[in-house]
């Protein structure tokens, strides 16, 4: 069983490599996700308005099984920082886990350097707002109220507590796009946030902001693997139906 898992990881890595080489020069084709189009617009507006962007990365540790969503959040943070680094008010990254807070500071700095504005980076913009999911969310609400935030992006591992921030954004007339790898949070955000990313859309967010070949390749790999799983499920159901397994 362990070797099957290793094989799946190896096969995915092989696909990623091959597809990167094949798709190196072809322009990426992405389906329309309205939530990300609105995010793109909100980021532009925040720079023009001189208002702030708040990016929540959740409270999952990178050492746990929930580490994938925060990593996708850091990737999006990097792109958003590059786009908004020259704004009057720099973006703030809020985390509910210490190592994630450190990485967010590093990512913010990299984003500023990538935009050629390294001297504008402020270490206090990468914050640890709490050590538990609820305290972290409670720590983000005052930032939204006091620091002129016009758009909030939640990308990471959140629970239902994300709805509290969505409610605060609604009162503030601020835009909020929410995503989480937890099903409960996705349901809560669907009801309370202006826009929600469901399931794997969380991992596609940065690709839509910076559609490079390497970014779109990982989406293609996900599609290929998804089709393989669908086929395996269908074949398995068929075999079970006919009493072969």
């Amino acid at each position: 069983m362990n070797l099957v898992g290793l094989g799946l990881v190896g096969f995915s890595a092989f696909l990623l490599l091959i597809l990167s080489l094949i798709k190196r020069k072809s322009p990426p084709k992405l389906r329309n996700i309205p939530a990300l189009t609105r995010l793109y617009r909100a980021v532009g507006l925040s720079v023009e308005d001189g208002t702030r962007l708040l990016i929540g990365l959740g409270s999952a540790s990178l050492l746990t099984q929930y580490g994938g969503a925060p990593l996708a959040g850091l990737r999006l943070l990097r792109h958003l920082t590059e786009r908004t680094s020259l704004s009057d008010r720099p973006p703030i990254a809020a985390s509910g886990e210490p190592s994630l807070a450190l990485l967010s500071q590093d990512t913010l700095e990299a984003g500023y350097q990538g935009a050629g504005a390294g001297e504008f980076y402020q270490p206090t913009t990468g914050r640890l707002t709490g050590m538990t999911p609820f305290s972290s969310m409670a720590g983000m609400i005052p930032i939204m109220h006091d620091e002129n935030v016009s758009a909030t992006v939640l990308v990471g591992h959140f629970g239902v507590e994300a709805a509290l921030l969505a409610e605060a954004a609604e009162r503030q007339n601020a835009f909020l796009i929410g995503s989480s790898d937890a099903l409960s949070a996705q349901a809560a955000l669907f009801a309370s946030a202006q826009e929600t990313l469901i399931g794997e859309e969380l991992f596609a967010a940065s690709t839509y902001l910076e559609a490079g070949a390497s970014n779109s390749t990982s989406l293609t790999v996900q599609d290929v693997l998804r089709w393989i799983i669908i086929l395996a499920l269908l074949i398995g159901s068929g075999l079970k139906l006919f009493g072969i397994i």
């Binding site: 990299a110 206090t124 914050r127 050590m131 305290s135 709805a163 509290l164 009801a191």
Partner: protein, 203 residues
């Protein structure tokens, strides 16, 4: 320096990944994970220093919410002093957690129930489409099927509709979403392992 960080990160990631699948490498994997846990502990200290810096700046520059920042810093230092003096397992320290942090988080959870109810009512005004209608209709059906009703159970709802929605539609959909999340996590991990994404080491 960045190259060293990159090589170290990729090597460590590969060892931990392979150690998960091949038992012979498990001791090395365990050692590396223990180092990571120690580093996370240090990161907590850095995070607290960052918190002090953020709120200290707010107080010195008399920004909005200065009073709350002051209360936060006073409580932080008081907890630190008592924690060092008495130890984290002292009954006074434990009661501090049980009497303040646990009730506050429970209150937030209670507030969440009201928030979600209000958000569901507002959903149709914000996004009046088929998905919103389905969402609310399903939530109402599940509530009616779960709650104790004054006139007793509704047979069709309790015995057929609710279990069917729960075990067929919801479970199937949830599995689909989780497979999507798992595949996203897999490719994100591979991107970090191959160095395409580097959430470390600056530019």
């Amino acid at each position: 320096m960045r190259i060293v960080a990159f090589v170290l990160a990729v090597l460590t990631g590969l060892i931990v990944l392979v150690g998960y699948f091949i038992p012979a490498l498990a001791p090395v994997e365990s050692l590396l994970l223990n180092w990571a846990i120690i580093l996370t502990g240090m990161a907590a200290l850095v995070g607290v220093l960052n918190l002090i810096l953020v709120h200290g700046t707010k107080i010195t520059q008399r920004e909005k919410g200065t009073v709350y920042s002051a209360i936060l810093l006073v409580c932080l230092f008081a907890t630190l002093v008592f924690g060092i003096a008495l130890g984290p397992d002292h009954p006074a320290m434990l009661s501090l957690v049980n009497a303040i942090i646990v009730p506050v988080e429970a209150s937030l959870m209670a507030l969440l129930a009201v928030t979600l109810l209000y958000a569901s009512i507002r959903l149709l005004r914000r996004r009046a489409n088929l998905m919103s209608i389905l969402f609310i209709a399903t939530a109402l059906l599940m509530l009616a099927g779960t709650a104790t009703l004054p006139f007793g159970e509704i047979g069709l709802l309790n015995n057929f509709l609710r279990p069917w929605i729960q075990h067929v539609l919801a479970l199937g959909g949830a599995r689909g979403i989780l497979i999507g999340v798992a595949l996203g996590t897999l490719t994100t991990g591979l991107r970090v392992l191959s160095g395409v994404d580097r959430p470390y080491g600056g530019k």
